[in-house]
């Protein structure tokens, strides 16, 4: 193709402003974190009155809908970082096929993936630590099977081994990072099964992450085995 191969690293915008929002959204889906005194009274009332429960249910729905609103792609809006930033450059480059997307920490969900799946030349996708990416989202990735070479799902709290099973559609995948997935029940076994499922792919799993934490000087040395004395 004629246009230069600019590997656009499109980082999703406004993350500094958004992180507290994301944590707030995570709280909405994880009520165990809200064990405060005020909640105890509300819970007591909600258990006893249908009306209180209905009002609280309505507020909860509103919080959940915030995630949906963040995912609506309105032409350039999703790509726009804080201030003017890249928007001028972006307009010039809009003919260039997008090769890599780094959506780490993004509040992208099932509907939001529509935006990414339209990028048919996508080669590298990073969904590290996305709080709303779950097994259903992985089921959609088969549309990128022709081009996707690199995928990172490290640290996503909602992905389990059941979602990883549908990655076998991605036959061109060469690097897959599935380390640090808390919802996977048996990380070692899962990694073996995924390696069997994708024979051409290099799978980075939990053990690599742990060995990185150890640091180079503490790595077990393979020359450590001393010659046996005669």
């Amino acid at each position: 193709m004629a246009a230069p191969r600019a590997s656009l690293r499109l980082v999703a915008p406004v993350w500094n402003g958004g992180t507290s929002g994301i944590r707030g959204l995570s709280r909405a889906v994880d009520p165990e974190g809200s064990q405060r005194k005020g909640r105890a009274l509300l819970q007591f009332l909600a258990d006893r009155f249908y009306d209180v429960e209905a009002v609280r249910g309505y507020l909860l729905q509103k919080q959940v809908l915030k995630v949906l609103q963040k995912n609506r792609f309105q032409d350039k809006e999703w790509m726009r970082p804080n201030g003017r930033g890249l928007s001028g450059e972006l307009w010039k480059l809009r003919e260039v096929p997008v090769e890599a997307v780094d959506a780490s920490g993004c509040a992208i969900n099932y509907q939001g993936l529509d935006n990414l799946l339209a990028l048919r030349e996508l080669q590298s996708l990073s969904l590290r630590c996305c709080p709303h990416v779950d097994d259903w989202c992985l089921g959609r990735l088969h549309q990128l099977a022709d081009s996707l070479r690199e995928l990172s799902l490290a640290g996503c709290p909602r992905i389990s081994e059941r979602g990883l099973a549908c990655l076998h559609h991605l036959r061109n995948l060469r690097r897959l990072d599935i380390s640090d997935l808390p919802a996977v029940s048996n990380p070692g076994l899962t990694q073996i099964l995924v390696e069997e499922m994708l024979p051409d792919c290099e799978v980075l799993g939990a053990d690599r992450a742990q060995s990185l934490k150890l640091g180079p000087e503490e790595q077990p040395r393979d020359t450590a085995s001393s010659p046996i004395p005669a």
Binding site: R39, A46, Y50, G57, Q61, G139
Partner: protein
């Protein structure tokens, strides 16, 4: 009074009341409950009253006949009665009826499985004003030990041939995907359905290949993501399949797989209780209805029935409670046929509309769980062989579960849920081992049996009102795909009840009248 006018059909009911529970305070002195005004005339508002005043007080066997003889005996009896009324005695003016259903309910749903609870959920969600409709769900077995919902393999697919079935399944999958928005209960943890998005793989022989192609065309038109595969592509993708005899395969890419039905059931139950639906542990034994003889526009005589009361019998007891209701929903699964008979459906000369029974009966199906160390890996979908045998992966430990539908002649006796292990040896294993050679070495770990609420007419669900019993609505007869269609069917039935017609998905091919008119809504299968 309006209620008095409704009482004319209650002849046998009056006698039946002698066995009944303690009635409201209105029966002071009057003969057995004409039941006009209950107690103080206060009708229960949101939650039903669990304590009622006792009626006639302690029994006076020889009330009034203080004739000659045995004066001392009578005095001692009177003394005993007075002692029982005083504090510390055995008689108390209040009796606990919390185990009984309420006396009135707008809608009574017979059957508390996934379909019944889905109807209850959508009724409460689509009602015009919060708390407008009082719904009662009657379930005979709170442990769900024989319910089809929890014994099911839990699969969901869009690979049907009828567009209505595909639409039902598409909506249900969207419901399951967003289950924590639909069924969110404040302060309760979110639901984890354990959905495996691995898809369904249907294999077709030469004869079935054209039907499969047409089916896939319809599925794609409705929006399902299905792809067709040739035997070479199949071998490349799933090397463990023996493609001999397979001409074509259809593979669901998205929104197909299997999940945990118990989780869905509990989620629905929890949400429905928080929305104010009442639950009752009991069995429906009788419907009390009234008949209206009318003439159609062309002069034909027709008898329309309307159910006024549902008698709910408490477990392990003769006690029953008549529940006055406006609408009855038959979601009793494998036992829907029996409930329909109780309502008088099918009692008439055969060949007429009155004589058309609900053709739903329980059929037993076996599911076997086996271990195979060299079996298919993580990518294995739910594979359905042309012979009718199917299997899917279960967990990460090389366990698989599957089964096979028996032919009509080999149907097992549905009287109990005992498993026939020889059926696996003779009918299931040979097909599995032929299709997946690795399955030649396997060991069966567990097996269970469950019921299909089998529609003997066309193996698809019955949804909507009955033409003659005007206030009974059906949601039954799904013949093995009830679980995957339950959320959408619940919404459809709620729409018919509240608006009078189907609004989102048009399920007119699934109405009861098709049994009388002979119009089969049958799936074109690829066997």
């Amino acid at each position: 009074m309006l209620r008095g006018a409704l009482r004319f059909g209650l002849g046998p009911g009056l006698l039946g009341r002698r066995l009944g529970t303690h009635r409201g305070g209105s029966t002071l002195g009057k003969a057995e409950g004409s039941g006009g005004c209950r107690g103080s005339g206060v009708s229960p508002v949101s939650s039903h009253v669990t304590f009622r005043t006792r009626g006639p007080g302690p029994r006076w066997e020889d009330s009034g006949s203080l004739g000659a003889g045995d004066w001392d005996g009578k005095v001692s009896e009177i003394k005993k009665k007075i002692q029982s009324i005083l504090p510390g005695g055995a008689w108390s003016p209040l009796c606990d009826t919390s185990h009984l259903p309420p006396e009135h309910s707008d809608v009574v749903i017979v059957g508390g499985g996934v379909v019944g609870l889905s109807v209850a959920y959508w009724l409460k969600r689509l009602e015009k004003q919060q708390g407008a409709i009082r719904v009662l769900v009657v379930e005979r077995d709170h442990t769900y030990s024989q319910a089809s919902t929890v014994l099911s393999v839990g699969g969901i697919r869009q690979q049907f041939s009828l567009p209505e079935n595909i639409q039902l399944s598409l909506f249900s999958v969207e419901f399951l995907r967003n289950i924590n928005e639909y069924l969110a209960v404040v302060d309760d943890p979110p639901l984890d359905l354990q959905f495996n998005p691995s898809g369904y793989l249907f294999l077709a022989s030469e004869e079935g290949a054209t039907i499969m192609e047409n089916n896939v065309k319809v599925q794609r038109q409705e929006g399902a993501k299905v792809c067709l595969m040739s035997p070479e592509q199949l071998r490349k993708k799933f090397p463990w399949i023996n493609t001999e005899g397979v001409a074509l395969a259809s593979y669901g890419l998205e929104n197909e797989g299997w999940f945990d039905p118990w989780c869905l059931l509990q989620g629905l139950r929890r949400k429905v209780q928080s929305m104010g639906v009442l639950f009752c542990h009991g069995e429906v034994t009788r419907f009390v209805s009234s008949s209206n003889h009318m003439e159609t526009a062309s002069g034909e005589k027709v008898t329309l029935k309307r159910i006024h009361e549902v008698h709910v019998k408490v477990d392990h007891s003769q006690e029953y409670q008549p529940v006055e209701c406006a609408i009855v929903v038959n979601a009793a699964g494998a036992w829907s046929g029996r409930i329909a008979e109780l309502a008088g459906i099918g009692k008439g000369p055969p060949g007429t509309l009155q004589g058309t029974k609900l053709p739903v009966e329980p059929r037993k199906r076996y599911v076997y769980l086996w271990h195979c160390p060299q079996g298919p890996g993580l990518e294995a979908p739910l594979v359905a062989d042309p012979s009718g045998a199917y299997f899917r992966r279960e967990g990460l430990g090389n366990n698989y579960l599957g089964g096979c539908s028996p032919s009509e002649e080999e149907e097992p006796d549905p009287g109990n849920l005992e498993v026939d292990h020889d059926f696996f040896q003779e009918k299931v294993w040979p097909h599995l081992a032929w299709r997946v050679p690795a399955f030649e070495a396997l060991k069966v770990r567990r097996a269970w049996a469950g019921y299909y609420d089998y529609n003997t007419f066309d193996q698809n669900g019955v949804v909507g009102p009955h033409p003659l019993v005007v206030n009974m609505y059906f949601a039954a007869g799904f013949s093995g795909h009830g679980l995957q269609q339950a959320p959408a069917v619940g919404r459809a039935v709620a729409e018919v009840m509240l608006e009078g017609r189907f609004q989102t998905i048009n399920l007119s091919p699934f109405l009861f009248s098709r049994f009388y008119l002979g119009e089969k809504a049958q799936e074109r299968c690829i066997i």
